[in-house]
Amino acid sequence: MKTMLIAFTLFLTFSGYTTNIEAATPATSLPEVTQPAATTSVPPLAPIGEDIQDWEARWELARLLSFTKRYDESLIQYRKLLLEKPTLQKARLEMASVLSWAGKTEEAVATLRSVPQQDIDKDNRLAFADIFIASKDYVAAEALLVEHLQSSPSDDLARLKLADLLSWIKRYDASLKEYEIILKHQPNDSQVRRKYGYVLIWAGKRDQAVIELRKSLKE
């Protein structure tokens, strides 16, 4: 139970699912790109008992160094690995994550841009969208989020991210549509409704905004 709570808290932090109640003007609350809790669920590259090649050992080493937050050392290993295996896009994506955790956002984005979008797997799209958001590359972030929502339309946290993002770039109508879908799924979520209310204000729909904000206070 405790683990689930921690995981949920991390997820909320990671996904930027926080509301700035005082945000009365359009503002971008950029999510901080943080490393999720160290995981031991990384699929092994080869079964235990079988020898592995040097590049595979280096890959495991790079991962482990990132789990222990030794980002600089991890990046050294990822760079060595990619020198040897330049087409290993999965490793390049992992390196992009490590770069972002190390606060090297620009380099992370440059690394991500060097990977064809079709090579970005479903599980990583949200994390990479955060990296693009942190670097204010909203177009790239939007593309990832839209693609993610096509395969997981019920992922309201991702949709909220997209709704937020669209409001930051002043595409209010598109943003409002996304909020409406979330509110259909979660009509009692006062935080989402409050955000929806703010976007209505920014979109100049003040009457509707008042109704929504009142509703959010009741909830």
Binding site: A38, T40, P47, I48, A57, R58, L64, D72
Partner: protein, 170 residues
Amino acid sequence: MLNIKTRQYLTYAALTLSVALVVSLTYQFLQQAQIQCFNGDQMFKEGRFDEAAEHYLNAIAGGLESPLVFHRLGDTYLARREFTKATPVFARLLQLDPTNLMVMLKLVELYALQNKTDNALALIETVLQRRPDWRPARVARAKVLTMVGRFDEAIIDYRLILHEHPEDTQ
């Protein structure tokens, strides 16, 4: 009444016949066991693991208790991902061949697959004591250490595998 000489001949004859019968039967059993083993190999190659296991078990029951048959039976269970069945087979194999490090490593794999990481680590330490420079064993330890979240120790192992100094950060 038979005389002593005749009785002796008859006794020898009976004994010789008994021995011949036992040898012949044993030979037949072993031959049948070998056929079972051969059939098991065929089934294994065709991916018919259930039948392969049955043949290997029959071969063992028929007296063919060779390490090779146990190894094949263990591999069959592994192919079927029946780890709880494979474990005692490889444990028995280790009894038959106690210095076989490959069998130990196989058991390490099986323990790890069943999340018996303490057993896996204990056995891998034995392997590494006997052969500290054996790379597959060090890789196995690094993997099990990763499984249990002992990342720092796993990092040391991977650096050793890559011939990097543990303090080397370049």
